[in-house]
């Protein structure tokens, strides 16, 4: 049974009562909220994800609630709760769905140290994963959304989850976060793809989430071998430049992008070294999305 199999009233009831058990990648989250924008966001953007009836065990127990007090009336806010505890300060109510997404990422980053978790977008083609670690503003999420809209499978737009034992990447194909100008870029290029409500004035500017393709969600249990590590950079007016990137520098940057490298210690170092061995390492500078997509489609599997 998927989210889309529940009618709106049933979904809202489950969420209100805190018995929506949502399966995303390797995790099951129990979600509770009476906030309508979150309910609508889940209905639209998580349509293809499996739900469980009364799962006996949930990895994460999360809730979004409106804090009590006078503020409720003149400046409504939202809290993210992890098993009854609030790890963050409240945000304005209009940002509730964005906060849900950030909270879900926080759960993984803080509790999934069985895996090595990197801050990177991951897409896949032909069984090989393209890993894109990038600082904010490099155009990572736009490129990721465009790749996914043009046939690559989405593994994750934010979190590369790697099994240190097998070196494989685990999908977590939750909605793709888009920021500011990239929201309109994607809306214009791919008018058929659903994008959720925009949240204005967040810490990251305007934020909206793109619905992940059905195929990516349906194959969310299918792992991928690493194929390429790519450091993309959008620069207005630049000519397309795909250059090999030093492997030592790639390893260094991957470590810098890992959330839990020091938690895992040596297994993380071995795992990322192997990943760098097995991947083509490149930097990409681009201004035209079309050119970038065309070039990345021709990437060959290369091992050192």
């Amino acid at each position: 049974m998927n989210v889309s199999d529940l009618d709106d009233a049933d979904l809202a009831r489950r969420l209100r009562q805190g018995c929506l058990f949502l399966e995303t990648g390797p995790f099951i989250s129990r979600i509770q909220t009476s906030i309508e924008s979150v309910q609508a966001g889940i209905a639209l953007l998580y349509a293809g994800f499996p739900v469980h009836d009364n799962a006996p065990f949930a990895d994460f127990h999360v809730a979004l609630t409106r804090p009590a007090g006078l503020r409720r009336w003149f400046r409504p806010q939202v809290n993210f709760l992890f098993d009854g505890w609030t790890p963050f300060k409240p945000l304005p109510l209009e940002q509730a769905f964005a906060m849900f997404e950030w909270g879900m990422n926080w759960c993984v980053v803080n509790h999934a140290h069985k895996y090595l978790v990197l801050h990177a977008a991951v897409v896949e083609k032909g069984g090989r994963a393209l890993i894109m670690p990038a600082p904010p503003g490099a155009g990572k999420s736009t490129l990721c959304a465009a790749l996914v809209a043009s046939g690559w499978r989405l593994l994750s737009d934010e979190l590369a989850i790697i099994s240190p034992d097998s070196g494989q990447l685990l999908p977590l194909p939750r909605p793709v976060g888009l920021k500011n100008a990239s929201i309109d870029v994607i809306r214009t290029r791919y008018p058929d793809i659903a994008i959720g409500q925009e949240a204005l004035d967040t810490a990251k500017g305007t934020v909206a989430h793109m619905k992940p393709p059905g195929d990516s969600v349906a194959s969310q249990q299918l792992m991928a071998m690493p194929g390429w590590v790519l450091f993309p950079r959008y620069r207005e007016g630049s000519a397309l430049a795909l250059e090999p990137f030093s492997r030592a520098a790639t390893l260094s940057r991957l470590v810098g992008n890992a959330f839990n490298f020091t938690v895992l210690g040596r297994p993380a170092f071995e795992c990322l070294s192997r990943l760098v061995d097995d991947s083509g390492c490149y930097s990409l500078e681009y201004s035209s999305l079309d050119e970038a997509l065309e070039r990345l489609d021709k990437l060959e599997v290369s091992a050192s």
Binding site: S246, R247, A248, A249, S252, G265, F269, S273, S304
Partner: protein
């Protein structure tokens, strides 16, 4: 005055990966990685083989890499040793 003799900290757990003359060193104790050029990597390997004062280490590193023992090499080694001490990788050898 006796020259200061340096060594790699006896409890240092070091792991190396090398590609095309560039080295990534993982210092397991601190959890840090260090991206090294060939000169620094060679010097640390020399120090692992045997403790040395800074002049001897300069000579051994330079000869390994076929470089002249000049002020540039000496400065490089001095800076490296200071840095390695701060990082807890190298120590002054017990006399």
């Amino acid at each position: 005055m006796r020259k200061t003799v340096w060594c790699v900290a006896s409890d240092a757990r070091l792991h190396w990966r090398e590609w095309d003359g560039e080295v990534v060193l993982f210092h397991e104790n601190s959890g840090n990685i260090h991206h090294l050029n060939l000169f620094a990597a060679t010097a640390i390997r020399q120090l692992l083989e045997a403790p040395a004062d800074s002049e001897t280490l300069t000579e051994r590193t330079a000869s390994k890499l076929d470089l002249p023992v000049d002020d540039e090499a000496r400065d490089g080694i001095e800076q490296l040793l200071t840095r390695l001490k701060t990082l807890g990788i190298a120590r002054v050898a017990p006399s």
